[in-house]
């Protein structure tokens, strides 16, 4: 558990990173470096997106596995990785 916290700390210290969230599969945030309200919003909106992405991949190729999903917007980039029970979100401002 300590290494995960270290990684979260390091990530937060990286240039441009605005927030890091770890949530479990039920949609409850376990670690977060953002405000509560934002965290809950992100988690609630990202979870169905993840489910959809995984489903899509499964349908296209059942032997394939989901690794990560990047959503690049005008203002920043949202990186979502997932494993069986938890998923992790990082929001980063891309380098100019």
């Amino acid at each position: 558990m300590a290494e995960v916290d270290e990684i979260v700390k390091r990530l937060q210290a990286q240039k441009g990173v605005e927030g890091v969230i770890i949530a479990n599969s039920e949609g409850i945030a376990i670690r977060s470096t953002l405000e509560d309200q934002h965290t809950v919003q992100y988690v609630a909106l990202i979870q169905p997106l993840l489910v959809k992405a995984k489903k899509m991949l499964q349908e296209m190729d059942p032997s394939d596995d989901f690794t990560y999903l990047r959503v690049r917007t005008e203002k920043n980039e949202i990186i979502i990785t997932a494993d069986k029970e938890y998923f992790m979100v990082a929001i980063q401002k891309p380098a100019p």
Binding site: V17, R31, S32, T33, E77, A95
Partner: protein, 646 residues
């Protein structure tokens, strides 16, 4: 008939006194003598009592209801006024009783009779006839009549019920009084204070980065501390790599795609493009003493950290970095003594052999979670008495145990075998100045570098502190096969060529890099680099390209097929006052890593001119890589040898 008490009695009295007898409307006057008079003598004042006896009081009986209102006014919605009702009803009902006799011709009576006939009411005289009729209908056959009856089976009824387990209940009780409330508030205040302090310290660090100010509760809000988050470690690593890739996007793009176009105009020279730098804060005081790429995962490399300053030894570290994450090492192994050399097993890339300054050798298994080596040599198992300068993995022996060799300043070249849980050592050879076994330690030479031949297993080279290079064989432990008087100062590195079986290279602090053919005692090529040479390395993709690092911060790249006398690249790659210590080529990517004495590893990309492959004549097929390389070298050597024969 009612008796009305006329209020005109008073008036009468008054009038009587005047001597008149008023007539009441509608009621004839009776004679004065026989008038009935009733008056309430009591209510009247005594003064008039005598007068009353004389007078005639008129009382009138009429059929009006005294309780009926005399003047009724009703609101007329039509005219929207209150209108007096003229005709007031004077009917008063004293008693009413509903009878229960019905006329027999009436509707209700008829209905009732029919109803009673049907039900067979005996009370009613009429029902007798209806009864007779019914009886007549029922009697059928008196002789043969048998009544049959049947009954269907009734479904057996069963009672089924279900009961769920009641939800677990706990009774919880607590008290809330002024005390508790006060305490709770105090606690909250305290936690807020501590968060404020944390925020202040982290905000100072963050001033370098352009981060917006956030409210104090943002930093590491732990919502569920009890959850086990270790499984997220893998996923977290991926995210870290992605984030870093984003930050260092331009470097990653350069690494993959940038090709220096100006190489076409530069004749034959090339350049080195700096890419990532790898550092670890806790190792700042150490210098890079060994570098090694991993064969299986070609983006992973190992860095051995220690100190070349023999007066100050400050421990060491073994770090593993990946090109994908330049901010933080993948694996960290702190060691008690400084590391001087390391080697990663060519097939089993999780086994790493390490040689220490204190003469120990150790083997680390990257798959294990511990930070300690899985094998370590001790004084009893035959560890070296001087720093170990080079380790090299060997092929497995006949019992399928892993083996590696080490060379050290105490003059011994030792083979170590990993047998179950321990390291077993066996000396291959003892180095000495005169070229034969020497029992006297004073005469022992000090080995500083070691390399095994790529194809011939038993053949290896040892460089010594005296500047000599010995060619030895594992099978001959008493004698050297050959001695080369290579340098005037300790030989820092000897390396066999990857392709050509006879060529090797050596470098030393006497500013020279020499290329040898092991059959010939004199060097083929000698290069003076103008500064003590720290390390030299052959390129894995060409038999004629090698690179060297010198203490004056330069990296030199030579390509013998292009220019036999000068290098094609001499470039300063680090800042002032930093010395370069080691260099390694990546097996597949066109990059090199350079270690320096500030525990920093810099990666550089080779420009196209430095990676030239042999040109093929038109129409000719290009022969296979290694053969071509060998041919290339042979051609070179042939050129050299001809003038020698002369």
């Amino acid at each position: 008939m009612f008796i009305e008490k006329s209020p005109s009695i008073l008036i009468d009295l008054q009038l009587f006194s005047k001597g008149e007898f008023p007539e009441q409307s509608g009621v004839p006057n009776t004679s004065h003598a026989i008038q009935i008079f009733i008056c309430e003598i009591k209510s009247m004042p005594c003064i008039f009592s005598s007068l009353i006896i004389i007078m005639n009081v008129k009382t009138v009986l009429n059929a009006n209801n005294p309780h009926a209102p005399k003047n009724l006014v009703r609101y007329s919605f039509k005219e929207r006024v209150y209108k007096p009702v003229t005709a007031v009803d004077h009917l008063a009902v004293h008693f009413a009783l509903e009878g229960n006799l019905l006329h027999k011709e009436s509707d209700e009576a008829r209905r009732l009779t029919i109803f009673h006939e049907e039900t067979g009411d005996e009370d009613k005289p009429r029902s007798a006839s209806s009864k007779r009729r019914k009886r007549e209908a029922k009697i059928t056959n008196q002789f043969n009549f048998s009544e049959r009856a049947g009954q269907t089976r009734n479904n057996p009824s069963r009672e089924r019920s279900c009961q769920t387990e009641p939800p677990p209940r706990i009774t919880f009780s607590d008290s809330a009084n002024q005390w508790e409330i006060y305490d709770a508030y105090l606690e909250k205040l305290q936690t807020q204070d501590s968060i404020e302090k944390k925020k202040k310290s982290t905000v100072e660090k963050k001033e370098d980065f352009d981060v917006k100010k956030k409210s104090p509760q943002n930093f590491a809000v732990f919502l569920l501390q009890s959850e086990d988050v270790t499984q997220v470690a893998e996923v977290a690593k991926i995210i870290e790599r992605i984030v870093i890739q984003n930050t260092m996007d331009d470097i990653a793009q350069d690494f993959k795609y940038f090709e220096d176009a100006s190489d076409e105009f530069r004749d034959q020279e090339g350049t080195l493009l700096p890419l990532w730098t790898f550092q670890y804060e806790k190792a700042r005081h150490l210098s890079v003493t060994a570098l090694c790429w991993n064969n299986k995962y070609q983006d992973l490399f190992a860095v051995g950290l220690g100190s070349y300053d023999f007066g100050k030894q400050a421990g060491g570290m073994l770090l593993f970095f990946s090109l994908k994450n330049s901010a933080f090492p993948e694996h960290i192994y702190p060691t008690a003594s400084g590391i001087l050399c390391l080697d990663i097993h060519p097939q089993l890339s999780y086994l790493v052999a390490v040689g220490f300054y204190d003469g120990c050798v150790a083997v680390y298994n990257l798959k294990e979670q511990t930070r300690d080596p899985v094998y370590k040599s001790t004084a009893s198992t035959g560890k070296h008495t001087d720093p170990v300068w080079q380790v090299r993995w060997q092929n497995d022996d006949m019992d399928n145990n892993h083996m590696f060799c080490s060379v050290s300043s105490d003059g011994r070249v030792v083979t170590w075998t990993l047998v179950k849980n321990e390291l077993m050592s066996s000396d291959i050879i003892r180095l000495s100045v005169k070229g034969c076994i020497s029992l006297c330690l004073l005469c022992a030479a000090h080995g500083t570098s070691l390399d095994f031949h790529k194809q011939i297993d038993y053949l290896f080279l040892v460089g010594t502190e005296e500047g000599k290079i010995y060619k030895c064989s594992k099978t001959y432990s008493s004698q050297f096969l050959e001695t080369y008087d290579a340098h005037r100062m300790p030989v820092d590195t000897v390396k066999w060529n990857h392709f050509h079986p006879r060529i090797f290279i050596s470098c030393s602090s006497d500013w020279n890099v020499k290329i040898w053919d092991h059959t010939i005692k004199t060097p083929m090529f000698t290069f003076d680099l103008g500064s003590p040479v720290g390390d030299v390395c052959w390129a894995p993709y060409s038999s004629t390209i090698f690179a060297a690092v010198t203490i004056d911060r330069k990296v030199h790249v030579f390509d013998l097929s292009i220019n036999k006398f000068e290098g094609i690249c001499h470039q300063i790659v680090v800042a002032k006052k930093i010395r370069l210590t080691h260099i390694e080529f990546n097996p597949i990517h066109p990059i090199i890593i350079v270690g320096d004495d500030r525990a920093t590893v810099t990666s550089l990309k080779l420009s196209p001119n430095l990676r030239k492959k042999p040109k093929s004549k038109k129409g000719q097929e290009l022969p296979k890589g290694s053969e071509a390389e060998v041919l290339k070298m042979d051609r070179l050597l042939a050129l050299l040898r001809e003038p020698e024969l002369d």
